[in-house]
Each structure stands twice: as C-alpha cells, then as structure tokens.
Symmetry: C2
Subunit: 208 residues, 2 copies
DNA sequence: TAGATTGTTAATCGATTAACAATC
DNA sequence: TAGATTGTTAATCGATTAACAATC
C-alpha cells in the first residue's frame, strides 16, 4: 500500500461489498456508479472516488461488472482468504458471537474458544470446546490464529488483551468498553462499544 | 435544538461520558481540556469545540467540574431519564443483549422480549418472559416503549421494523445487516452491523 | 460513430486544529 | 494581581461533490 487510504473510505467498503453481493444474488451483472448511488443513497461521485483509491475497476460507457467488483472488494478487505478467529471470554456476548460465526461467515473461521472460568472448560458451542486460559499459549503456538475476539469483563480486558498480543495475535475485535492502549504496537483493534452505540441512538431519539 | 450538531460530535459524546465517569470513580473533581485530551488521545481544542456545541460548561482558569460535566452530557445523551427498551428477535444476539441489559444499563430498562417462534414463548431470560408477536401490539399500547432492539433474521428485518414503527416506537437499534428504509419517517435508527465491523478489522489487519 | 459512463482534476464544503482575547 | 484555562474566531486540513475530458 502506498498512499494512505482514509478511514472514511475503508469504513464504506464493507457496505459496497454487501450491496454488490445482493446485486449478484439478483442476477444483475453490471451496474453504473449512478445506479448504485441511488440504491445506496450516496453520490455517484463518492463511489467512483472511493473505488479509485484501489484501482480502476470500471469501464467507460459500461460501468462496473458486479461479480468482478464484488470479488475485488473482497480481496481489498482481505476476506478472500479465510482468517482464523478465536473468542476469548465466553460470556453472553462471546457465546452469542460463537453461534453467530458458525457456520463460517464469509472469510472468517472460528477455531477456538477460551475462558478463564474453569467451570466452562469443555463446554461445547457450535461444535467447539471451550478451553481454559492455561491452554491459550500452547494453542496459539500450534494453530494459526489471525484474529481474537475480546469479550471478557471490563476489568480483565487490558490484561487479557496483553496476553493475546504477547502470543502473536495482532488483530483484536474488542467488545469490552475500554480503549485498549497496548504496550505492543502494530496491533490493529476494532472496537464495538455497544453501550456507546445505544447512547447515540438515545441522543438521536431525544433530539430528532 | 437550534443549529444542527454534526454526527461526528455526537458520536464522541458517549466517550466523553465514559471518561468522565471513570474520573469520578477515581475521585477526580476537576479537569482541564488539556488533561482530558491527553487521557483520551484527542486535542484539547476538539474537546472545547465539542462541548461548546451544547453550552459553556467550563470556567476559565479552572477547567471543568467532572461530576457536573458528566451529568450534563448524560442529559445531552438523554440517559438522565430511563428509557424503556424491548428486544424483538430472541436468537443468539437478542438473547445475549437481554442478559447484557439486565441489570439495567445506565438510562435503559429492558421491559419486553418478543419472538415470532412460538417455541420460545414463555421462556424467561433475565426474569423477563418471551412473548409472541401476536402480543406485540397490545403490549406496546399498554406500556411505554421507547426503543426497540431489532435482532431478527435478515429476511424478516424489514417487515418487523415496519411493525415496530407502526406501533408507535420511533427508535430502533438495528443488528440486522440491512439498511432499513422505512415508510414512516422521523424514526431514528442506529445500526450495529457486526459483519461490516469485522471486515474493517480484516482490512486493517491486512494493510497495516 | 454517438451515447454512456468512467477516472480524475477542480471546487466546495465541513471538520479539526491553532491562536488568542476574555475572564475566572 | 498573575497564572491558568476557557470560549470562540480564524486558519488549516481533509473529505465530499461537481465537472469534464478521456474512452469504451
């Protein structure tokens, strides 16, 4: 990657991917930025600008080939190859995500569940047994783990996150309501702060 | 509300609220924008600009009173009064959120669970019984419901959302991977598109 | 070829940061 | 009073939109 691509652009890519997938399912083979812009409620200009950050995928006078563009965006997002995912913290949310991720979501494969609570050890969710944190280091050594989902209680989040990155995992999908500020750098974190999302809804409800 | 406050500002408010809450817990009574900016990793200027969209909460030479500012932001977010919440769709995610919301999260009270599947009727989660969708209209008539959490399968989402708003609920926390485009206007929607969030993480992992 | 639509440059708009007078 | 720090205006930066030549 040469020039830095803005966060705003990146955050729109999954939505393009989703719409293109739906178009494919509807048997639509080509689409213009104008047509897509109307479906997505954004400007055609923005679509073309966004896509041209990654390359010229269209053709003048024709538009974009839906399947090809869908595929290209998949590659951009890195979901053309399966990434192995583990869940650390099998509480409510962790449990739900374990079921949510099986069968595999396009590009992601759940391969492990961990929890500090020994009472949960051996419990099976979606065909995967919960392991204790004692087994974590060995597991990550023997298995290629690309992404860790962090769904432990708030107070444990920082320590567990440090353990995750210490074992060589460099991507965390963080559901704990904390801003992880890890000692190890070059770790990517995506926060899903549900309470904050709910508060934004509250604001908009009370101020529409 | 007079002048329109930008989405970017609003989306930062819950984070301020969270930091101020933590400061209170640590017994810190006042804070300057500079100090807070260092803790939050943003500029002091942004903090002052953001807050001044809503009023002058600080004092020159002193800074901000933590408890007072926390309280004010709570009011801004509309979480000073309890809002009644229901969950529609008691699958994995709905189930997890039901447990997540009890005991009450600051400002939100879970008061109902609904699912179209008759097999789930009467099942109790967090002390609340699941009701069938037949009972939905009557329930919303008898109870003040402020927010509906939409956690039904993708293909049902649009119809169920229409039913929600038809029964007078004007705020939806949407977990279905669909852009709700409802016939009724003045409905506020906050999307939590988990798959898209995970894809963003994937992108960042593959392009760091 | 003529029409359609891209890729890309230029213009606009909005959000962030810097600066500083006001004031506690 | 002097120092600190706000509220707010001005400057900068970045993102979105518009325009249009290139080209299929």
């Amino acid at each position: 990657m040469d020039k830095k691509i803005s966060k705003a652009v990146i955050s729109r890519m999954p939505r393009y991917y989703r719409y293109l997938g739906a178009l494919m399912q509807n048997g639509i083979e080509r689409i213009s930025s104008k047509d897509l812009s109307e479906r997505m409620n954004i400007t055609a200009s923005q679509i073309r600008q966004d896509l041209n950050n990654f390359g010229g995928f269209g053709q003048q006078g024709y538009g974009y080939n839906v399947a090809m563009l869908h595929d290209e965006i998949g590659k951009i997002l890195g979901i053309d190859n399966t990434q192995n995912v583990i869940i650390v913290g099998v509480g409510n949310i962790g449990h739900a995500l374990a079921r949510f991720l099986v069968p595999d979501i396009n590009g992601f494969h759940l391969c492990g569940l961990f929890d500090a609570n020994p009472a949960l050890k051996g419990m099976e969710i979606s065909g995967i047994k919960v392991q204790s944190m004692d087994e974590f280091a060995a597991f990550t050594k023997e298995n290629q783990v690309d992404i860790a989902i962090l769904t432990v209680p708030h107070d444990d989040a920082k320590d567990v996150a440090e353990e995750i990155v210490a074992n060589g995992i460099n991507a965390i999908w963080n559901f704990a309501l904390i801003d992880l500020n890890l000692s190890k750098k070059d770790v990517v974190i995506e926060n899903v702060h549900l309470v904050e999302s709910l508060m934004r809804l509250s604001y908009n409800r009370n101020n529409q």
